[in-house]
Amino acid sequence: MSVVGSAPQNVPRFVTLGLIPLANLAAAFIISGLVVVIVGDDPLQALEVMLYGAFGSAESWGFTLYYATNFVFTGLAVAIAFHCGLFNIGGEGQAMLGGLGVGLVCLGFDDWPFVVVFPLAIVACALFGAAWAFVPGYLQAKRGSHVVITTIMFNFLASALMTYLLVEVLIAPGQQSPESREFAPGAWLPYMHDMLRAIGISMPETPLNLAFVVALAASVFVYYFVWRTRWGYEIRTVGQNETAAVYAGISPSKNIILAMAISGALAGFVGLNEIMGVQHRLILDFSGGYGFVGIAVALMGRNHPVGIALSALLFGALYQGGTELAFEMDKITREMVVVIQGFVILFAGALEHMFRPQLESLFTRRSNAAAPAGE
């Protein structure tokens, strides 16, 4: 299930890393534009509204980056599992559990100073997310149960567990909707606009918060871990060739479990951004599809933290722009974002090889005009 394509040596890097993803993206937007036409609106106006809504002002940038934070976490989560040859479709459930961990810490310790609560919350969301991914990882490694199906099941189980806890156990007394009580402000992640104000920069109020910095740190961590440590090397070896790994004395099952646990921990950080950063209480369905879209983020980002950061920005813009779209244009609903996301996943992920032969031959011929290369 390797997703890393091997490009011929003589194709310029910008074609593989830049042009092909852009062509796929363009195809996704053209098809989505057709849907807008079918629905009865003007696709060019829709594009303009989206772009302006995502990047038009400091405020929209704040929202875009806030959404991108979630996509960085889930994209990294999917990527690290990919490197081990695994498909983690359970980002959704792991994010929910991560949020549960954060929520429990905040509910229990929100009268403690922030410097204590913050590390506790980080540990809790990583642990809870990792635990939820550990079980499918363990079952894959030891019992051969396919991780794709078990992670899907664990999404449903997480959803049921959260509903139970919020309806029956954690619900704030005297309240109808399934939400916990609000955390004390001491346990809120500081907003970016507050932090920037402290150093004299003014920025409009947006949900962007400290979790964004955590996302950047996580990206650096994943880069270092995957390419600069022995564990990362082992994980990549198992992902590329399990038989070779065994011959080299690397245990596939150990690495499968490790990769899944780290993957789950990363997905769990969505809970940090959403629960501790924005909602300030435990709610249902805060994971909002981020786990699934993480697959597309990782694929477009070629499973590399830099690429993931860029594609997370793209999907963040899509979310924010799409919200504006639903506001501004009367025939377009919130679901249009889901449609565009789906097409981006389809073209950038499943159909990623569609334009490859043409584009590659175009550029190989040009750069190798003197020496015609044989097939």
Binding site: M1, V39, I152, L157, A160, V167, E335, L351, E352
Partner: protein
């Protein structure tokens, strides 16, 4: 005693109704996966055909037209999956996920634009739905002891798609294990190179298998919106596609064990509807969420190896590359 008998009958009756889309979708997945193409997009195909069927039935007023369009929609999505996975050798899991997400967005978007009812289709009635059929002699035999209720309550009184699903199992088994087409499907799923060497096109066989997948998925989706339900509602598949996939794995990609897996899932579902809020002696009231999660817990436990290791078709998930 008579009450308990009737109670069991009602649960089994509900089991059949819930099992129908699962059985059809799982058989659909069986054709795809036996040919070597992972199909995680069963969910999306069902949802797409549910929407298409309901939309067509509400416009034309004919359930059969709805079914036809529902099947056509599922075939189209299945061909899209094939185009990505077979022709362009894309990642099969990603393609399936993409189809699920596209349909989850597209169905309510189009529904909102066409029917202005918040993403749903108008409620269907009369000929726009498949009505329950009363089988011959059902009324006459209803008073007979045991066999009477068994026949008139349990066997009779379903809509036609339930019977289609029941017939689909032996037919699918026959196609897969007794025809040349079935042999070729299984062969491309196990050893595509051998099939290619025999001068048969791997690509053509896989596409044909995916057409069968589309047909069965289309019937399953249409059942949800124009037979079991009366109109399309967003997310009305609610994970049934994934559950069907789990049933397929748990049934080891074989028709009859898959049927029983589907019946088991459907039974837990029917049971949970009855158990909600019920006070069980010695245990008390079980939380609703736990009962609703039963099929998923069951799947994980079963996949964890309590039924022995499930061995998938050998070439599953691998795009076929002709050797040069």
């Amino acid at each position: 005693m008579a009450d308990a008998f009737l109670y069991v009958l009602l649960i089994l009756d509900a089991t059949f109704r819930v099992a129908t889309p699962l059985v059809l979708a799982a058989l659909a997945g069986m054709f795809s996966e036996r040919s070597g193409v992972i199909d995680i997009g069963l969910e999306g195909k069902m949802l797409g055909s549910a929407f298409a069927a309901a939309a067509c039935a509400s416009v034309t007023g004919s359930a059969w037209a709805g079914l036809l369009v529902g099947v056509a929609a599922a075939i189209a999505l299945s061909m899209l999956h094939g185009f990505a996975c077979i022709t362009h050798r894309g990642n099969q899991v990603v393609s399936g996920m993409a189809i699920n997400i596209v349909v989850a967005g597209l169905a309510p978007t189009l529904g909102f634009a066409w029917f202005h009812q918040g993403g749903q289709t108008p409620p269907l009635s009369g000929d726009a739905r498949f009505a329950s059929l009363t089988l011959p002699f059902a009324d006459a035999t209803a008073d007979w002891p045991i066999i009477g209720p068994l026949y008139s309550e349990l066997i009779s009184g379903h809509n036609i798609i339930v019977y289609m699903a029941a017939a689909a199992v032996p037919i699918a088994a026959w196609i897969l294990f007794r025809t040349r087409f079935g042999l070729r499907i299984r062969a491309v799923g196990e050893n595509p190179h051998a099939v290619d060497t025999a001068g048969i096109s791997v690509v053509a066989i896989r596409y044909r298998a995916l057409i069968v997948t589309g047909i069965l998925c289309g019937i399953a989706g249409s059942y949800l919106s124009i037979a079991h339900g009366a109109g399309f509602a967003r997310d009305m598949t609610a994970g049934k596609g994934y559950l069907a996939l789990a049933a397929l794995v748990f049934g080891k990609w074989k028709p009859v064990p898959t049927l029983f897996a589907c019946l088991l899932f459907a039974f837990t579902d029917a049971l949970q509807a009855r158990l909600q809020g019920a006070d069980i002696p010695g245990i008390g009231v079980i939380p609703v969420q736990f009962i609703q999660a039963l099929p998923y817990i069951l799947t994980v436990l079963l996949l964890a190896g309590f039924v022995g290791r499930a061995i998938p078709p050998k070439a599953i998930g691998q795009p076929y590359v002709k050797e040069r």
